[in-house]
């Protein structure tokens, strides 16, 4: 643990990739920190390397320069202290809801009885009790992402990494799930890093919004969201909410126009 309860420390991180023989820089010299229990969103124009950043935080890929530390230790690969919610759900189509949610516990080698019991609790937590035996194709997109959320929560991670978790959903479902994630987070506080392209979503859920520049992605600005906690749906209609969104939007506009 770093000072001031810092959990995640990203320092001078760069990452390149090659397309058709051209070297492109996805991220360059990116630094920021996330405190314990904080909800941070990362937003930026498409191609700014948001998802690359999240994959590095998850330990799926490594930075080409700089360092990422989680819980004081450098990230060398995936770890039990972090769990990921994927944009396209990434559910195993041949497993039931129960099998999918229990999957991380199975990997950890827990006995069947315990993992099923914990999975059932996580499933109930996201409001899917009764659907344990359903297969992913039988569920709506919103329900599928609840499964993805339950699968991440079941390991009780210190840090939740969410990669555009509601990006594949329609507007109403997205609002509903945002409310649920907010309620869950307020009841079971965790450190959350969420990548999104939806400004209202970022403001509504986060304590802080980090705005990245277009490729190569680096930190352009960070906006502390001045809305009080606990929040609920009524926040969306407040003047402070509109102002905060406007603030983020004006920063993004200059970045996109530049």
């Amino acid at each position: 643990m770093g000072m001031n309860g810092t959990v995640i420390e990203v320092s001078e991180v760069s990452r390149h990739f090659r397309i058709a023989g051209h070297e492109l820089t996805a991220l360059f010299g990116l630094s920021f920190a996330v405190r314990r229990g904080e909800f941070v969103s990362i937003i930026g124009p498409s191609g700014c390397g948001k998802t690359t950043l999240l994959r590095m935080l998850a330990g799926l890929i490594e930075p080409h320069g700089g360092q990422i530390r989680v819980g004081g230790r450098p990230v060398r690969g995936p770890g039990r202290d972090r769990a990921v919610v994927f944009q396209d759900f990434a559910l195993l189509p041949w497993e039931t809801v129960l099998g999918n949610v229990a999957f991380p516990l199975e990997i950890q080698g827990l006995p069947r009885g315990e993992r099923e019991e914990r999975a059932r609790r996580a499933i109930a937590l996201v409001g899917l009790a009764g659907f344990e035996a359903s297969y992913p194709y039988q569920l709506s997109g919103g329900m599928q992402q609840r499964v993805g959320l339950a699968r991440a929560l079941v390991v009780d991670p210190e840090t939740l990494l969410m990669d555009e978790p509601f990006g594949a959903l329609d507007a109403q479902t997205r609002h509903l799930l945002q409310d649920e994630v907010l309620a869950l987070w307020q009841a079971h506080p965790k450190t959350v890093v969420m990548v999104t392209h939806d400004m209202e979503e970022a403001v509504y859920l986060s304590d802080r919004v980090l705005i990245l520049t277009a490729r190569p992605g680096r930190l352009a600005r960070e906006v502390a969201v001045p809305l009080p906690r606990p929040r609920d749906e009524s926040v969306r209609r407040s003047a402070a909410f509109a102002e905060a969104v406007e603030d983020v939007w004006s920063s993004l506009r200059t970045l996109v126009a530049a």
Binding site: G59, P78, A83, F86, E95, V155
Partner: protein, 235 residues
Amino acid sequence: MAVLLLTWEWAGRRAAGTLTLPPASAVAVALAAQLVDGRFWSAMAVTLQALVVGFALIVAVGIPAGLAAGHVPAVGRALNPYLQFLLAVPASPLVPLFVIAFGIGLAARVATVVVFGIAVLVVNTAAAARQTPTRLIDMARAFGASRRQLFVRVVLPASVPGIAAGLRLASARAVVGMVVSELIIISVGLGRLISTYSATFDVANLYAIVVVVLAIGVGVARSMTWLERRLVRWA
């Protein structure tokens, strides 16, 4: 269907006396007589033996080979030229080679069945294993899956649809291999009956046996389609 049968019957009756086209009813009678004849069933058993043994070999070798080729790039690169060759080459000209190698017994017919069917299963299995969605692989890795867990819990089940499709295609080709080996290596089985009836111009019985062979083909195809649906119920 009825139209074809009626036309066939009519044409067959008109051609009565010539040797080429027996009326459909005569074929039906011959077929019924065959079905209660012990010699027919022992011929059938011999023929199916090559198919069953050959197909079992195809499954036992083809699926592991395909998974290895799809999951381990080096194995895939090493096997690829041979698979491409086996897929491209018309397999029947190879049958005389099997006769040289194995004689005219069961082994040569099994080899024919295997060579006809195996490449398509390996190629399909390998493609399925290779195309395991990266998001699922990422997901499993993010939750800390080991290489073995990744293979058993993600790559293997993700390959099942491709394996099932490969089995369906391989079974169809295996049936062709069975027929070709029976016709070229005429030694025993239905191929022997066909050549006997054809030599004695017993056309009704010849047609009956051909109908049986086609029915085997249809039966195998149907059961493989059924199996495929059973295996991939979650899709």
